[in-house]
């Protein structure tokens, strides 16, 4: 079976595959940054003393955490063009889907991070005359973020893997590009082995980095 394992097909299509990888990485990075930003705002809303605000944020989080990601991707793929009134293309619809979906998870991580900052630190900021917003920005969030770096990175690795679900709406990420090559060249074994290896190496490197960071933070 492995006798005719042809690595040439990979190199012949390297450019095409790299374009797919580029889309995967762009999607991952934008989803992390957007999700983190929206998630942090949601976390602040969830911890708000105003019941209406915290209820809305809580509902958002619970809603998205109860949805399969694949459904969210489908839903945005078909709904976003309806909402903005024109076709937006698969890439932008999955971008929105990932940012909104990830925000729910980042919200919960940031909420735990904010709550991990000692009450005394908040008192100290207040006692110096910082407003609520200043206290969050300069005192609480930097510490919350630091405390959560390992978990945020673990979530980023999961997200990197999850981006392969854009397969269902035909956005040409790394996996879809490899699939196209595999079918065109009839080299299914070679391509999917390569895809598996690439995902494995990237995710394993990420996990090892998380472990090192955890050791460093534990000191």
């Amino acid at each position: 079976m492995f006798g005719d394992f042809d690595t040439a097909v990979i190199f012949d299509n390297l450019h095409f595959l790299l374009e797919g990888m580029q889309l995967t990485l762009v999607l991952t990075v934008v989803a992390i940054l957007g999700g983190l930003l929206l998630g942090t705002l949601l976390a602040l809303a969830r911890l708000s003393p105003f019941r209406v605000v915290s209820f809305c944020a809580g509902s958002y989080v619970n809603f998205f955490r109860s949805m399969p990601l694949i459904l969210v991707i489908f839903w945005f793929y078909f709904m976003v063009p309806h909402i903005v009134g024109r076709p937006v293309g698969g890439f932008y619809s999955v971008l929105v889907a990932f940012v909104m979906f990830e925000a729910a998870y980042y919200c919960e991580i940031m909420r735990a991070g904010i709550q991990s900052v000692r009450k005394g630190q908040i008192y100290a900021g207040q006692a110096l005359g910082l407003t609520y917003g200043q206290n969050m920005r300069y005192v609480v969030l930097p510490q919350a973020f630091r405390n959560m770096v390992p978990i945020l990175m673990t979530q980023a690795i999961i997200l990197f893997q999850d981006t392969s679900l854009v397969y269902v709406v035909g956005v040409k990420d790394f996996l879809v590009s490899a699939d196209l090559v595999a079918n065109r060249e009839n080299r299914i074994l070679e391509m999917f082995t390569t895809v598996a290896l690439v995902y494995f190496v990237i995710c394993l490197s990420g996990s090892l980095l998380v472990k090192r960071l955890q050791r460093k933070f534990a000191k």
Partner: protein
């Protein structure tokens, strides 16, 4: 300068402050003592509104702390506070700790804030530690930085919440020395502490609290020399025994 009128506070059904009234005049040093759980820390946190209270009034320089219209951040910026666990910000350097509120609250420029930070670090004897992070300093050094951070706001009064309780014995004096100097410079101070030596040296008045009530509120001389209530006597005999 600071006036508390019939302040009461509850955590749910549990009353932590019971009808507390006292005042601190400009330049006065008032020591608040009492057994743990007597409400001392809560009382001092009511002065700058860190703890809300349900009944009574607190005035700082005629501004009502409990009034919803009061700009609390602005009021707090004018009162320095030092905490039991120092509460320096661990993610920024010592100098940045002292600069942060000067820049963001008082709107001073970088140059002015830096000069001020260095001058205050010199005053507490830590000028060479400016670029270190708080975790690299000993407890006593951290507390001196915390005092410098509070002084950087040019406060009209200083609140100390058990400033030496978390310190190893050999570091207590370096912090008390800074506080004694502050008192001698005429700073208005309200100090929650068990350090009766400090009280004897610089306090004008001593307040004794028990079960949320102010049981004694008298001059230092009266407190240490004349007969007091039974509870205060028991408390003093316990902490002065050794």
């Amino acid at each position: 300068m600071i006036e508390l009128k019939n302040v009461s506070k509850w955590y749910d059904d549990f009353q932590v402050l019971d009808n507390c009234s006292t005042q601190v005049e400009k330049g006065e040093v008032v020591v608040v003592c009492g057994p743990s759980g007597s409400g001392k820390s809560t009382l001092i946190k009511c002065v700058n509104g860190l703890e809300p209270f349900q009944k009574g009034e607190v005035f700082v320089d005629t501004i009502s702390v409990g009034d919803k219209e009061t700009d609390l951040p602005k009021l707090r910026a004018s009162i320095g506070m030092v905490f039991q666990n120092f509460e320096l910000f661990p993610h920024i350097s010592v100098a940045e700790n002292i600069k942060l509120a000067q820049l963001k609250v008082l709107g001073r420029n970088e140059d002015e804030a830096s000069k001020n930070a260095l001058r205050l670090l010199e005053r507490v004897g830590l000028a060479d530690q400016a670029d270190k992070h708080p975790a690299q300093l000993s407890g006593g050094q951290q507390q001196r930085v915390a005092i410098a951070r509070a002084l950087a706001m040019d406060p009209i009064a200083m609140l100390f919440d058990e400033p030496t309780s978390a310190l190893d014995p050999e570091m207590i004096n370096e912090v008390l020395d800074v506080m004694v100097e502050l008192a001698k410079d005429g700073m208005t101070m309200m100090v929650v502490t068990h350090e009766m030596g400090f009280a004897r040296r610089v306090a004008n008045r001593v307040i004794f609290m028990d079960e949320g009530r102010i049981e004694e509120d008298c001059t230092k001389e009266e407190f240490f020399n004349t007969t007091r209530g039974e509870r205060a006597q028991i408390f003093l005999s316990k902490i002065l025994e050794h």
